[in-house]
């Protein structure tokens, strides 16, 4: 019976993912508030976490933030998600829209004995994908010659995590994880002159690769009366940027400290608030200095309640709010982001699989720039829990 359900679910899920994943190769966006510096901090949250404004990051096992969340899991979990973003930038009399594709999370959780579970995940740490098409001019022989310029940057710094969580007792869980930060940015720049007879265009490319490491630890303690306290800490080690195997700059993976309070005293409901501090300024020396780096304090609040039952299992309805500081800006200006989010968790094959959907409305501003950015971030994720 379950085999039949899973088969139909896999077909549906495969189609849904195919539609989104297939477009990843053609992703693009233009320069925007969220794409300064090393890019946009995707956060690595699962669709469930994103649907609650990031407030569930500390205890959601599919979100590779707090390794303690892995502890006590008794079933294998395979999860993947896609997250397109529809972005609109306005200001100074101009408006521009762009679409961006991401597959920000792939995770595998394997339970072991005695309340221990291990998790392997790949998440997008900083996504830097954009393109700009502008007109300008170049001064040649003292004469200003019109040009059309196109710059395209693709790539990301990814966070590959291997972690383990241990449920020491029903009230305590701890975990630890190691992180590899890899990836790169590939940039192409094309510049064409209006006078194509005398002047040739420029098509140049550049690639930089990143490599870094970090360790993270976390814990969870049940306080009683439905309250649970959670905390996690990531200590960054060196991260370097390489061009053709030559290290051109070094910095430290930003230290992150997070804490959250969960309340699940009402059956079928979970409420959480959280805060995290990320020392992005530790990455400053990795860049060339054209962007500024600012430490961020992010606040999250969210809830998940059991909704109507679907084939015997409750559908989960989520909502949340987040206020994030964006790490990269331009000199003298800092960027912030507010997010309203909502989501659904649909049990599509009993307890064996869940389809998660989320929608987030983000508003970003950069102080003093006159620009505002709004975005719809849509999430679709699958988690499969095969029976052991």
């Amino acid at each position: 019976m379950i085999r039949i359900r899973l088969r139909s679910f896999f077909s549906l899920a495969a189609l849904a993912l195919l539609a989104t994943v297939a477009a990843v190769a053609t992703a693009s966006a233009q320069s925007s508030i969220g794409m300064q510096g090393f890019g946009y901090p995707v956060g690595g949250g699962s669709v469930r976490t994103n649907g609650t404004g990031g407030a569930f990051a500390e205890f959601d096992a599919l979100t590779p933030t707090n390794p303690a969340a892995l502890g006590g899991l008794s079933r294998t979990v395979i999860a993947a998600q896609a997250e397109p973003e529809l972005r609109t930038l306005t200001g100074n009399g101009v408006s521009a829209k762009s679409n961006l594709q991401r597959v920000p999370l792939i995770m595998l959780i394997l339970p072991a004995r005695h309340g221990v579970a291990m998790g392997l995940s790949a998440t997008t740490f900083l996504d830097r994908t954009f393109s700009t098409a502008t007109t300008g001019s170049a001064l040649i022989d003292g004469i200003s010659i019109p040009t059309s310029d196109q710059t395209e940057v693709r790539g990301a710094i990814n966070d590959l995590r291997a972690g383990a969580g241990w449920q020491i007792s029903p009230r305590f869980r701890v975990g630890a994880a190691g992180h590899l930060y890899t990836g790169g940015n590939e940039a192409t720049r094309e510049r064409r002159f209006a006078d194509t007879l005398r002047l040739g265009g420029v098509l140049d490319s550049s690639r930089v690769a990143y490599f870094g490491t970090a360790l993270s630890v976390g814990g969870e303690a049940t306080l009683g009366k439905g309250f649970t306290a959670l905390a996690s800490y990531r200590r960054g080690n060196e991260i370097n940027a390489r061009v053709r195997d030559t290290i051109i700059s070094k910095a430290t993976v930003p230290t992150r400290t997070g804490a959250a309070l969960r309340y699940d005293g009402i059956v079928g409901s979970v409420f959480a608030v959280g805060v995290e501090q990320i020392s992005w300024s530790q990455m400053a020396s990795l860049g060339s200095g054209t962007a500024t780096t600012t430490d961020a304090v992010n606040w999250h609040a969210g809830a998940e309640v059991a909704g109507p039952r679907l084939r015997g299992l409750p559908m989960l309805v989520r909502a949340g709010y987040a206020r994030n500081g964006l790490p990269f800006g331009i000199p003298g200006q800092t960027a912030t982001e507010n997010r309203l989010s909502a989501g659904l968790g649909l049990p599509v094959a009993g307890e064996d699989a869940t389809l998660d959907l989320s929608v987030q409305r983000a508003s970003r501003t950069m102080s003093g720039s006159g620009f505002k950015e709004s975005a719809w971030l849509l999430g679709i994720g699958i988690q499969i829990r095969p029976r052991n």
């Binding site: 297939a22 830097r128 700009t132 170049a138 590939e186 990795l286 860049g287 909704g307 720039s369 679709i380």
Partner: protein, 431 residues
């Protein structure tokens, strides 16, 4: 008692929730469409700044020279027949070493011997481009056949004498169409056919100053023809004889070269000590080899490259008519040092995207020749291939005009130089 509706029942919420899920899924799929409307926030929010272009003029010419004697014998599709005593005097030689002794009447099946020859003329297809003179001139045809060594120009030149003149035509160059027919002695042709001999004709202009540019070769064969009636029966179609020659122990190329060629009685002046010449008669070609800093060729993108040549005024020939300066791209490695060999093995500039440049020979000043496409290939060339360019004139060997430029032996301000605008390559992927 009314039935109590459960708020959490699936039938009540199934529709709205499924609709909500479908909307999210549909919008997610729709978001897969790529859009590229970028740049609205630039330069305010553009995360990188473009490098500035750099201009430089470099004395990059390490070797230059002019080499005369072009076009090589038999390799010019055009020939110039000119009588301009102050400029250039040339004659054309056309060999018909194989004369027919029989003919097929009106393309029938019977083959008859040629027993009578009538209405003999030499037909020249003409190049219809360019201006032609308006004053009448006389085109003379000479029998230049000799048992002496007629590959020696002086020997052939000596045969242009009155007793060997076998035909002539008085005409005005501007009044003729795309070909010209010069009648000559039927007795001479009949005698040579009867003797199974050969016919070698010399053509020159006398009786006035003028010139004609004629087609020498078409589709690999000599273009001028001798036309005659092979019989007294005027209903028979005229017969044509095409140029051909037999040179003992020579290749087919050499034989083709000697079937139609030019000799000159008065040529253009040689280049001076500090001068590069392109064109003239016989024509010169000029070769320039560069040493461009590797910072520019290897580590930059060149967006403009021009060879700057300081032109000297030429007084030779049609000095006030525009002529084309055509580029040649040398392809040999440094192992080939013979300049003629280098030039013979050069490719047409069009293969490297170098266009022709129009210039007026009498003009002076700095001229720029666009070599952008060529310069962009220098980075990809093996190190042992010299970065070089050569120039030849348009209608080489078929027009009396030349371009003169100062060479690298001239004072510094007059030497050939390279003007390059480039963008240094940078690693701009790092924000």
């Amino acid at each position: 008692m009314p039935e109590r509706v459960r708020l959490t029942s699936w039938p009540r919420f199934r529709g709205p929730l499924l609709l909500c899920g479908l909307v999210i899924a549909a919008v997610t799929a729709a978001a897969c469409t790529e859009s590229l409307d970028g740049g609205a926030a630039c330069p305010s929010l553009c995360p990188s700044t473009a490098e500035s272009f750099r201009d430089t003029i470099v004395d990059a010419v390490v070797f230059d020279s002019s080499l005369g004697g072009y076009p090589a014998l038999g390799l010019s599709p055009l020939i110039l027949i000119a009588n301009r005593p102050d400029t250039v005097v040339t004659s054309a030689i056309i060999r018909f070493d194989v004369l027919p002794t029989v003919f097929t009447a009106n393309r029938g099946t019977s083959v008859d011997s040629i027993t009578a020859v009538d209405s003999v003329y030499l037909r020249f297809p003409l190049d219809s481009t360019g201006r032609r003179g308006t004053r009448p001139v006389t085109l003379e045809v000479y029998d230049v056949d000799t048992m002496a060594s007629d590959s020696v120009t002086s020997v052939v030149r000596s045969l242009f004498r009155p007793d060997r003149r076998i035909g002539s035509l008085l005409f005005t160059p501007s009044a003729i169409g795309d070909s010209i027919r010069i009648p000559f002695s039927k007795t001479v042709l009949a005698a040579k056919i009867a003797a199974k001999g050969r016919l070698r004709l010399g053509v020159r202009i006398r009786g006035g100053s003028g010139q004609l540019r004629a087609l020498a070769f078409v589709a690999g064969a000599g273009a001028p023809t001798v036309v005659f009636d092979p019989s007294t029966d005027t209903t028979f179609a005229p017969q044509q004889i095409s140029p051909s020659t037999i040179v003992p122990n020579a290749t087919a190329d050499v034989e083709l070269s000697y079937s139609v060629y030019m000799i000159s009685d008065l040529a253009s002046p040689p280049p001076g000590a500090n001068t590069l010449v392109v064109g003239g008669f016989p024509a010169y070609r000029s070769y320039l080899r560069f040493n461009v800093p590797s910072l520019i060729t290897d580590s930059s993108t060149i967006v403009r490259a021009e060879v700057l040549l300081t032109q000297q005024a030429s007084t030779f020939g049609d000095a006030r008519d525009s002529v084309g300066l055509l580029a040649l791209v040398p392809t040999t490695t440094g192992l080939v040092t013979d300049l003629r060999r280098i030039l013979d093995l050069s490719a047409a500039g069009s293969f490297a995207g170098v266009d022709s440049t129009l210039m007026v020979p009498a003009a002076t000043g700095v001229r720029a020749v666009n070599v952008l496409s060529l310069s962009r290939t220098w980075r990809t060339l093996p190190a042992n291939v010299p970065r070089a360019i050569a120039f030849r004139i348009g209608l080489e060997g078929a027009q009396p005009a030349e371009l003169r430029f100062f060479s690298s032996k001239a004072p510094a301000a007059l030497r050939p130089r390279l003007r390059i605008t480039y963008l240094p390559r940078s690693e701009f992927a790092l924000p």
